[in-house]
Amino acid sequence: MTSLHPLSRRRFCQQLLVATCAPVLLPFTKFETATSRQRLRALGIIIGSLPTGPWNAITDVPGVKVGHCTRIEGEGALQVGRGPIRTGVTVIMPRENIFHENVTAARFVLNGNGEMTGVGRVDQTGLLESPIFLTDTSNLGRVMNGGLTWFMQTYPEIGDTARVPVPVVAETWAGFLHDTEGRHLRDEHVLAAIANAKTGPVQEGVVGGGVGMMCYDFKGGIGTASRVLPQTHGGYTFGVLVQANFGDREQLMINGVPVGKEIPDLQPVEGKKSKSIILIGATDAPMIPSQLQRLCKRMALGLARTGALSSHGSGDLLLFFSNGIVLREHDTATDIQIFNDEWISRAHQAAMEATEEAILNALCVAETMVGINGNTAFALPLERLPEIMKKYGR
């Protein structure tokens, strides 16, 4: 690094941040080692019947990348503006050059008590032109602004000859663990999450936007899963990624077993906190927005199978995109092929199964975390699951 050119300096700082944002390197208070956590499937609990993709993640959909930037710093009493910090940002990149090569998308609101920006364009055109960012509620404006910084750096024509996009940013509430008022995210964290975005296995649990989240009164966070349709149905992949922050303990169901009722202990100190989940679906099946909106509703059914009732305080917002249809700007007309509705039920099954498993993966992978004022979110005790499942004949 010999040049002192401001751009290269910025890039240098960005790379530093990428390095420091690797969540596994960060020290934080936890009760178990990372190796004691496993994904649901590794515990022998299989949701549904369709096979998963190679990584059982949203990144199994070709072209989709996921990146995280995680901030876990400090402990003890809340000092607004100083911490403890328990937040981050997760980004889903639907494909390369998304601003000029849009993919189809649709959204659905199961319960509106939340925020997902940038959906006006999705509603009016059925197209997605932005990466999808997930973060905590108070950081939403910061992440919008950071997303816009990325857009303007990547596309110098924005604000000059190209109109200004609105980044898609969704949130859930981190107030039990995080110094929400202090926010603690800036442009560089958003840029770091994007720089970290890659295909392959996805880190889950206490990572990115999921750091401060609670699920069924256990530690929640990011989870993902995928399903692959039979070759008779085109062999397409359906992936789901969730930021899970919802549910009351007694509601939790795992593969039809009322696990939550069987684990009444390990409760967080109950404060007034919202309960929300953001669900993002992806597929390479060529689907138009009306089909994708139907898949959103099947993600809602997958959510229901984990026991959720979508409570009033919950922002349960869903978005599904397909990068199997790509529309390039300025093309007059584009020939597309679309999925046959008469064969779509398998896709419904895929969306529902992947959603149920993604939520449970978030629970299974997330580790116990201590946040502001010593507030403790306990991890789902995996060692108790075999006996509970056995009790219900599973």
Partner: protein, 324 residues
């Protein structure tokens, strides 16, 4: 019937406040306009809201609560397209200052609407700050607002000439009651046929209108009021490909106060069941037309990005120029 002296302002609807912030410096010609649905001192209040959108995409934050529950409690901020995140963040601060948990009856979720003022304003310079937004909210007034090239109107471009922001109000009599309907319009689109004016246009032309009323309307009727207000613009031939039109309408009368109290309660409301709500709809359409006229007539010439200058365009020319 109450005698109300109207000042042709959205602030004729009692409780409604507005704030302008204007930033005019070289290539930066932009601003903010903020509408407060009720005074700052009022806490834990939800109002009902309806929305109507037409044309191309219409981005506004806070729409999930507004559309699913039909309520809102946030100041409404109109700003340029690259300030949306900053304005949102300022409203998060505003919300935290009111109540750390950001409940939906105490200013969350923020409602921010972005407009493209890039013809005159360098959008890549994000010069409006978090503190500018907060201060504009805190200094909001309930007097008639300045119209034209102020606030969000500073960099706007309409009908090939200088656009702007305008407001107006009208009374509407339903049964034995007299209600007030007020509108604010940000004019940032439109074409004049066979005109000698420049082909100046925003990359994302838009008309954003906010309608306030003291008529006790619930979300369904407010959506119709928003649509009626937008229909007021139909006379100006706004069916451009890229034109965004977004209308939000809210009522200050049917309020939900202290919904988070730890006791079961029902909320007294009035449902305006009169067969004919047309006077309200006409009042909305007329207010919007009048707000457009005042936005354009009060606009002053502005020179901004790339040395471009937009001069005011005569109202009569617009009226003549949009005829088929």
């Amino acid at each position: 019937m109450q005698a109300i002296v109207l000042q042709n302002s959205i602030t004729d609807v009692r409780g409604v406040h507005f704030g302008h912030f204007t930033l005019a410096s070289g290539d930066v010609q932009t601003g903010l306009t903020v509408i407060l649905p009720y005074p700052l001192a009022q806490r834990n209040r939800k109002l009902f809201l309806g929305s109507f959108a037409a044309g191309n995409w219409n981005e506004w934050t806070g729409l999930h609560v507004a559309q699913d529950f039909g309520t809102f409690s946030s100041p409404i901020v109109l700003c340029n397209a690259t300030t949306v995140g900053i304005a949102y963040d300022a409203l998060i601060t505003f919300g935290h200052q009111r109540e750390p948990g950001l409940p939906i009856d105490n200013a969350w979720p923020p409602i921010v609407i972005g407009l493209d003022d890039g013809y005159l304003n360098d959008l890549r310079e994000r010069r409006i700050t978090h503190d500018d937004v907060l201060r504009t909210i805190q200094e909001a007034k309930n007097t008639p607002m300045l119209c034209g090239s102020v606030g969000i109107g500073r960099g706007l471009c309409a009908f090939g000439g200088k656009g702007g922001v305008g407001e107006a109000s009208r009374a509407a009599v339903i049964g034995s009651e007299r209600y007030v309907v007020g509108a604010v319009l940000a004019a940032n689109g439109g074409l004049v046929r066979n005109s000698e004016t420049s082909a100046a246009t925003s990359l994302a032309p838009s008309f954003v209108l906010l309608i306030a009323t003291d008529a006790p309307l619930l979300p369904e009727a407010l959506r119709r009021l928003a649509e009626a207000g937008m229909r007021g613009l139909d006379a100006f031939g706004l069916a451009e490909n890229d034109a965004q039109q977004l209308a939000l309408a809210f009522s200050t009368t049917n309020v939900i106060d202290n919904a988070f109290e730890e006791k079961f309660q029902l909320f007294k409301q009035q449902w305006l069941t009169h067969d004919d709500l047309s006077p309200l709809f006409h009042a909305a359409a007329e207010s919007v037309c009048e707000a457009l006229r005042r936005a354009v007539e009060n606009a002053e010439a502005v020179t901004g990005r790339k040395g471009r200058t937009l001069a005011p365009i005569a109202w009569q020319r617009i009226v003549e120029g949009v005829k088929p």
